[in-house]
Structures are given as structure tokens and as C-alpha cells.
């Protein structure tokens, strides 16, 4: 087929005179927009405002799901902060939230401080369980395990900190000793519990803490604390 023929045939595709007239009439008779009406934004501005509408739908769905998971995950982590052994979110606290915070401490001193805080947290959790009369053997064993772990890590980080700056880790050790002593005294007070089983568990935990205090105390610190 020659170009001219093709062009002639294509040019036959057009509006009928009636259609042409109708369109023109509708356009010319359309109401004039009010100068006070909000201005229609240009296409590029509309796209910039609602850019997400231009995304392919599968990608949009994935993005929304990820966002929900992220927000949900953050909310769950936050809610887990106050959980104690036996709670559903406790494992989230121990295995997710706290490990994430572990990674945010970069120096031996900050890591030691964080491990000390974790050890104290374990004992606080025990205290909360005692208040609810729910310190079972299973919970106590779990708390002790995590407490001991944190104490060992604390000692390790303190040694590292002492290598860098001689004597600068002393304040950490002193503060930790004091905190452990306070916790041990608190457990001693709570030892006089009506429930014998509960009393047994508290006693056991208090002994663990006192052992750690003995192991941890150095002559230097004892002298400082006048123990």
C-alpha cells in the first residue's frame, strides 16, 4: 500500500458534522468557572501531592503492609517494656527489644552500664511478680539465668573499659554494687511472705543476688563503700 492511500484512508476517520457541532455547542455553552473557585492544580502538582497513587498497586500494598508491620512492631516493643516472665510479650522484650538496644551501645563503658541496668531490671521483674504473688520456680529460674548473664557481661565490659582508661570504670562498679545491695535488701523485706512457696523463691533469689555481690566486690570497692 502506498503512503498516499494509507493517508487518505486514515483521514476518513473523523467526526461527523453532527458530532462536531454538538461538541462545539457543549464547550461554548459550558458554565464559566467562578474566579473564586479553588484553582485546579496542574497535573504535575497533583501527581506530586498524591504520588503514591501513581505507584503500581502491588507495590502500594507491600508498602502499606511493611508500614503496618513496622508500626505494629514498634508498638509491640514499647508495650513489651513493662512485661514480666509469664507475659506473652516478655519474650519480645528479652529476645527482640533488649538485643536491639544492646546494639546501640558502642563503648565498653556504655555496654557495661546497659548490662547493669538489665540485671537490675530482672530483679525489678521479680519484685513485680512477688507483688502479684506469682513468683513461681519457673519464673525465678528464668530471672536468675538472665540476671547472671547480665552480671557476667557487665564484668567483662568493665574489664574492657579499664583497659582504655584506668580507674574510670570504678564509678560503674560502685553504682552497680549499691544497686545490687538495695535490691537484695528489698528482697529480704519481701521474704516475710504469707505464702511459703513464694517465700522460698524470694529467699533463693536473694541468695543469688548476695552471691553475686560477694563475687563482684573487690577490695578497692569495699574500701570505698566501707563495707
Amino acid at each position: 500500500m502506498k503512503l498516499e492511500n494509507f493517508k487518505k484512508e486514515i483521514q476518513n476517520i473523523k467526526l461527523t458534522p453532527e458530532e462536531k457541532g454538538e461538541i462545539l455547542e457543549r464547550v461554548l455553552n459550558s458554565p464559566t468557572p467562578s474566579p473564586y473557585a479553588p484553582k485546579r492544580t496542574r497535573r504535575i502538582e497533583r501527581i506530586q501531592k498524591s504520588w503514591w497513587k501513581t505507584l503500581p498497586k502491588p507495590l502500594l500494598y507491600v508498602g502499606v503492609c511493611l508500614f503496618v508491620v513496622l508500626i505494629g512492631g514498634s508498638g509491640m516493643s514499647y508495650a513489651a517494656l513493662n512485661s514480666v516472665p509469664g507475659d506473652r510479650l516478655y519474650q519480645v522484650k528479652i529476645k527482640l527489644t533488649e538485643p536491639v538496644l544492646d546494639a546501640l551501645n558502642f563503648t565498653p563503658k556504655s555496654r557495661a552500664k546497659w548490662e547493669a541496668e538489665k540485671a537490675i531490671r530482672r530483679l525489678d521483674e521479680a519484685g513485680k511478680l512477688v507483688e502479684k504473688n506469682n513468683l513461681t520456680e519457673k519464673h525465678r529460674v528464668e530471672i536468675e539465668k538472665n540476671f547472671n548473664k547480665s552480671v557476667e557481661k557487665f564484668k567483662k565490659e568493665v574489664k574492657e573499659a579499664q583497659k582504655d582508661k584506668e580507674g574510670k570504670a570504678d564509678d560503674l562498679e560502685i553504682n552497680f554494687s549499691q544497686s545490687l545491695n538495695e535490691q537484695a535488701d528489698r528482697l529480704k523485706k519481701e521474704n516475710k511472705h504469707e505464702d511459703k512457696k513464694q517465700e522460698e523463691e524470694i529467699n533463693q533469689l536473694e541468695n543469688t543476688v548476695r552471691e553475686k555481690i560477694k563475687e563482684h566486690s573487690s577490695k578497692k570497692i569495699n574500701k570505698m563503700l566501707e563495707l
Partner: protein, 178 residues
């Protein structure tokens, strides 16, 4: 209500008479539905009319109209695609084509099989080449005119036209096309 200036109206009518058929052709070959094409070009001319009424300066009416038209067609495709996907998700087993089959609307666009074949071949060209080749062979526009419509450079358009037609000849096995 403000009475439109008669000169503006005359100017608009002149542009309308000159460009309406070309725009309609371009549109109906893209959307394959006469009524839909009429709706789209009505919107496009309405935009132009409003622009004239506001006193906006439009350097090239043809380029302005084609640009508006191409944007409208893209919007139409997107809307059609999303509503098809939504319909598929809601009723996967049902027929998703909700448009009633109107024989008049679906009149055979092409008068001959050969024309249809050539247009289908043009449609298969890469996007950059397709519009340039179509505007050249169907509307007989010059490269500078096509460049202003497609918002491109005259040299680039010339190259696209040449290469596009070569591809077309190869697809159709036509030596004497151009």
C-alpha cells in the same frame, strides 16, 4: 456572567475546525471506542476554551491540544487498568468487561484490512517512535511541528521518524511505503 469576547470565540472556533478531526483520529485509534474518544476530545477543547477565557497565552495551539490529549489518554488507561484489576480482585470468575457492547460505538474504525494492518504495526513500535511516525504518515506534519507537540528536539524527531519507518517497512515487508 461574563460574556466571552467575540474575537476569542472566533479564534477558538477556527482552532476547533482545524484540529478537531486530527485529535479525534489520534484519540479513537488509541482508545478504540468512538464515544469515549468524543468525551475525551470534548474535555480537551473545554480546557482550551477555558484557557482562552482566562486570557492565557498559548503559543502553539496544536501542541497544547495534543499534549492535553495525550495526558487524558494516559489517565484513561490508568483508570481503566485499575478498575479492571479491582474488578478482577472482587469477582475473579466473572467477566470484567462491564461496558455494554454497543455496535455503533464499536464500528469498524478502519475501512480496509491493509490500513488496519499498518496501524497495528505502528502501534507495536516503541513509544518514542510510534507517535512521531503516526503524526508524520497519518497527519503529514513536519518534524518541527511534531517536535513541538512531543516536546522534543527537531533533529531527534527526524531520526525517530526515519528509524521508525524503517522498522515499519521491515515489519510489513513493504518496500514502496515511503
Amino acid at each position: 456572567m461574563e460574556v466571552p469576547n467575540i474575537k476569542i470565540k472566533e479564534k477558538f472556533e477556527g482552532v476547533y475546525e482545524k484540529e478537531a478531526d486530527a485529535l479525534f483520529r489520534y484519540c479513537v485509534l488509541r482508545v478504540s471506542n468512538r464515544n469515549q474518544a468524543i468525551d475525551i476530545i470534548q474535555d480537551v477543547f473545554l480546557e482550551l476554551w477555558r484557557a482562552y477565557q482566562k486570557g492565557e497565552e498559548i503559543k502553539n495551539d496544536r501542541a497544547y491540544l495534543f499534549t492535553m490529549l495525550r495526558n487524558r489518554i494516559i489517565d484513561w488507561y490508568r483508570k481503566k487498568k485499575s478498575s479492571s484489576l479491582d474488578a478482577m480482585m472482587e469477582n475473579p470468575r466473572e467477566n470484567i468487561n462491564f461496558e455494554p457492547i454497543d455496535e455503533k460505538a464499536h464500528l469498524e474504525i478502519y475501512s480496509s484490512a491493509e490500513t488496519r494492518r499498518i496501524m497495528e504495526a505502528i502501534e507495536t513500535l516503541p513509544g518514542d517512535y510510534r507517535d512521531a511516525v503516526y503524526l508524520k504518515v497519518a497527519e503529514d506534519l513536519s518534524p518541527p511541528e511534531i517536535a513541538s507537540i512531543l516536546n522534543s528536539n527537531t533533529n531527534i524527531i527526524s531520526i525517530r521518524i526515519t528509524r521508525g519507518i524503517q522498522k515499519l517497512k521491515k515489519k510489513l515487508n513493504i518496500e514502496e511505503f515511503l
